[in-house]
Symmetry: C2
Subunit: 327 residues, 2 copies
Amino acid sequence: MTRIGIIGYGNLGRGVESAIRQNDDMELVAVFTRRDPSTLTIKSQGVKVDSVDNVADYQGKIDVMILCGGSATDLPKQTPEYAKLFNVVDSFDTHANIPAHFANVDKSCKENNHVGLISCGWDPGMFSLMRLYGNAFLPDGADYTFWGKGVSQGHSDAVRRIKGVKNAKQYTIPVEAALEAVRSGSNPELTTRQKHTRECFVVLEDGADAKAIEKEICEMPNYFADYDTTVHFIDEEEFNKNHSGIPHGGFVIRSGKTGWDLEDTHVVEYSIKLDSNPGFTSSIIVSFARAVDRLSKEGVSGAKTVFDIAPAYLINKSDEDIRAHLL
Amino acid sequence: MTRIGIIGYGNLGRGVESAIRQNDDMELVAVFTRRDPSTLTIKSQGVKVDSVDNVADYQGKIDVMILCGGSATDLPKQTPEYAKLFNVVDSFDTHANIPAHFANVDKSCKENNHVGLISCGWDPGMFSLMRLYGNAFLPDGADYTFWGKGVSQGHSDAVRRIKGVKNAKQYTIPVEAALEAVRSGSNPELTTRQKHTRECFVVLEDGADAKAIEKEICEMPNYFADYDTTVHFIDEEEFNKNHSGIPHGGFVIRSGKTGWDLEDTHVVEYSIKLDSNPGFTSSIIVSFARAVDRLSKEGVSGAKTVFDIAPAYLINKSDEDIRAHLL
């Protein structure tokens, strides 16, 4: 059994709790919160809810601590800190800061003989693996990542911060014509605007100026200005009925050439269609937590990424079984 | 540099030769043949062609020997034999015999301190990896493998063996309706006939009975009887013009559920579209040869499969580089 702890009980923490239930070699030991633990009810029967302040008491009782905080402020501090006490897995997704985060986690892990796997999930995560396999197998080529159709939390938050907006959800949508151009193997150069469109569903406060808010959204730098954006104003009932889920999806496509004169073209496409973004992300995280536990028990230490994990470590089946049935 | 030898110079061997040319950390040392070496001309300038009988002379000069023989009779003997002398990679693809082949190669490798990676390519190979990732991340689900549209060498050979057939090519084609049913996430049960159709292009000998040959193809047990098969009779000119390539493709789809009550459905799809089956296969093999060389230099020995290889070992880039640019 791999004994798991969860720090943070938002969408991702709840997803991890459910994923553990689907894997009979995994056991949830405790959920840790920064709130008063008595105010938090979790779904798992007989599992402790405790304060993060008491986390050190669980050394030796938890094999892997899964960190379900945010990448902006939580994980840069939490992952190196908790890697002193436990093997850890996080889903740190600020791509530009991965090298610095890796170095911090690696130091904590090596000094304390732990394994710390960072940036786990689907992007970074499974999409990263597909980019790596694509680059390795087709070195003369190009790769393309498309996201969606799905909810971007950051863009939804940005719309919600506008004065006069009561609630909002933003969908990122890949442009079908761009996907088709990439699938043709022609390795097109695509601008930001050509790859994705953005669609917003907005509930206004009473008396808000729809026209002005639409303009403010569409011209917002970094978030919307470089995209073709559509804004729909809807009432709260429709919002709750049709826009309360967190679906997502995406595509990684590698196209490249082989042959003595590079005469043959190949296109490799990986795509996902998810009812629940945190549901799939947490399911991947739990698989990698299994790998972290196995590596740690083999005496490995240090920071790792999905690139460092041999696939056989991820699955609750023996090597003989996977060679006989999955190879 | 990883110094490579090739045993066998058919489609796959020629593909490996081209793939080495695309990777500046790989060097082709020699191609070995069972024929008289003076009768074989290869594309690479200044690379030795030698008899397989002299292969032992190359110990210490070749880091990884890539075995490009067939799975029926060559590889079951060759891989364990050459694993005594070298690190080896093969593309053994008789799924049912993989456990026995693995055991034989493992014994040779461990006794001689070599690494032997078996069953490399796209199926078994990259498709196997996608099945493993799918099963690990979505344990409550089902997976589906479709092949094509592409040339099945075994089925083409079977048609060519029929009396009165001068030449033939067989394409395996996935049924679009089956693909769509799987993509819907409904986890359908599909029969052999529902998943693939088969299409044959046949050139007849003068005076052959087309009607009788069509019947013989369509009723051939194991190869065609369980499928809806279409037979086209064409002349040699059209055959050479439109059916001389070896394209292939395929799909691995995993659909599964997550959530506390398994309320969310996810569909993950991996697909490939190849101008040249041996071109892509050999490109994958060369990546795994790089991994085999690295593992061997770390002191690892024994038989391995694609499941045992951490992805970072496959690519000609540093760990820092892939974390910064592909993660």
